[in-house]
């Protein structure tokens, strides 16, 4: 069995280091926050202008002037600050955010990512994704390894319109943990119920298996 969404989030949380400023995208990335141990001191950045996102509010504390980038009502964490959208993206584009986690429709072996547009379908827009992949020091992609027909989403070359070029260094999929290197995908860890060979077989892009490959642990 490949991993479920929660397990992907749980594994990504292990990459978050004490003292990090982190931007979490919508979907699986948002779940990562639930698995960061309280022993680590981190600040979550929301691109609509909040550094220090707290938990969801109690019903009595809901404030329409306090939302995250997914437009959900949130609270402010201790030490939080508010700022305008230009300052927010100065943080992002300027490389001041340590880690960005976002979803993807496709990533290719050169580290290019597509996650905002499917030609012929209604285009909703890229939001802040293009700025985030262009600016964060470290971008981790949380994604499904294959589509519902079993086709690989880790491609030789992205087929969908790109969000960013050569900017992804690490993927955590439901199949494993994959580094994106100049030599293509490198499988570092695989889902406990799978084998490295199964991950390889489910990957279209060029992939090698790390010599020290191991099953994922949580």
């Amino acid at each position: 069995m490949p991993l479920n969404r929660e397990q992907i989030a749980q594994r990504i949380a292990q990459e978050v280091q004490d003292g990090y400023t982190v931007n979490l995208g919508i979907g699986i990335p948002t779940l990562v926050a639930n698995y960061i141990p309280s022993t680590k001191s981190i600040m979550l950045q929301s691109e609509n202008g909040l550094l220090g996102i707290g938990p969801f509010p109690l019903e009595k504390d809901v404030d329409p002037d306090l939302i995250n980038a997914g437009k959900q009502t949130v609270t402010e964490a201790l030490g939080a600050s508010y700022f305008n959208s230009a300052d927010s993206f100065a943080m992002i584009r300027g490389g001041h955010v340590d880690l960005t986690v976002l979803g993807a429709m496709e990533v290719d072996q050169n580290g290019s990512i597509a996650n905002w547009m499917v030609p012929g379908k209604m285009v909703k827009g890229m939001g802040g994704a293009m700025d985030l992949v262009a600016g964060a020091k470290n971008v981790i992609v949380a994604m499904q390894h294959t589509d519902k027909d079993g086709n690989s989403k880790l491609r030789t070359k992205c087929t969908l319109p790109l969000t960013g070029v050569n900017c992804i260094k690490k993927i955590v999929s439901d199949y494993g943990v994959i580094d994106v290197t100049p030599a293509g995908f490198v499988l570092r860890e695989y889902a406990p119920d799978l084998t490295p060979e199964k991950v390889l077989a489910a990957t279209e892009g060029k992939m090698t298996i790390a010599t020290d490959v191991k099953p994922m642990t949580f």
């Binding site: 691109e47 002037d65 306090l66 939302i67 949130v74 230009a86 890229m126 262009a134 070029v165």
Partner: protein
């Protein structure tokens, strides 16, 4: 004595907005949007508008109100989901859309207001948004030239404002409003609380009054929540 910029209501403050003008509008989702000005635009029936705003509202609120009444010709936005009216008008060719990365949009407004014609950003290089634009290499990395934006009118919403136009925003309702405030030939601010000059602490002003030409006391703020999320006690 400082000349007062105070208008009685939204309708009078929007005097001079004409068909086919470009409006830059503050807000993120439905948070910090100029609710009163949007309602007044609907009432005034001004058409053919180009609206520069991060989002396009929802079907029956925010800029969605003006989409519904077919008053918007073109949107320049970063994210326009959550709106079926938008989708329908876009698909049938009635509505023109220019999608712009969120950080680039914020910076285009900041640049426009700051007298900067264009700037180079790494965002979007190699993607559809860079097509047809100048690419320049700095220190081994490619950047795309993006243009500043100035609107005929800018519409912003603040928490508190004084009669000179000094503004203070509240929490994440700040978002695009400070840049939008600088990027209008005429900027109209609506506030939840309009106070006398000298009331707001000068050290805590987010938008200095020089950017604001007109200000009015807003009313009946709905502050609709798009995604209500709560935890249990």
């Amino acid at each position: 004595m400082i000349k007062s910029k105070v208008y009685a209501n939204a309708k009078s403050a929007l005097e001079g907005i004409k068909d086919n003008m470009t409006l830059v509008v503050g807000g993120f989702g439905l948070c910090g949007i100029p609710e009163n000005s949007i309602s007044a635009l609907k009432e005034l029936g001004i058409k053919g508008l180009t609206c520069v705003s991060n989002n396009a509202g929802v079907d029956d609120f925010g800029l969605g109100i003006l989409l519904h009444s077919h008053q918007i010709k073109k949107m320049i936005s970063s994210y326009v989901g959550e709106n079926a009216t938008f989708e329908k008008q876009f698909m049938n060719g009635e509505l023109e859309v220019e999608l712009c990365p969120q950080g680039t949009l914020a910076e285009r407004l900041r640049a426009g207001g700051a007298g900067i014609a264009g700037f180079y950003t790494p965002t979007g290089v190699g993607t559809p948004v860079a097509e047809g634009k100048e690419i320049k290499n700095f220190d081994g990395r490619e950047y795309v030239l993006e243009r500043g934006i100035v609107g005929d009118f800018a519409l912003v919403k603040a928490w508190k404002g004084d009669k000179f136009g000094n503004l203070i925003y509240r929490k994440t309702a700040r978002n695009f409003n400070p840049m939008v405030a600088t990027a209008g030939k005429i900027t109209v601010a609506e506030v939840e609380e309009l106070v006398e000059i000298g009331t707001l602490p000068p050290d805590q002003i987010h938008t200095p009054g020089v950017y604001i030409q007109r200000i009015f006391q807003g009313k009946n703020y709905e502050k609709r929540i798009e995604q209500m999320t709560v935890r249990k006690a």
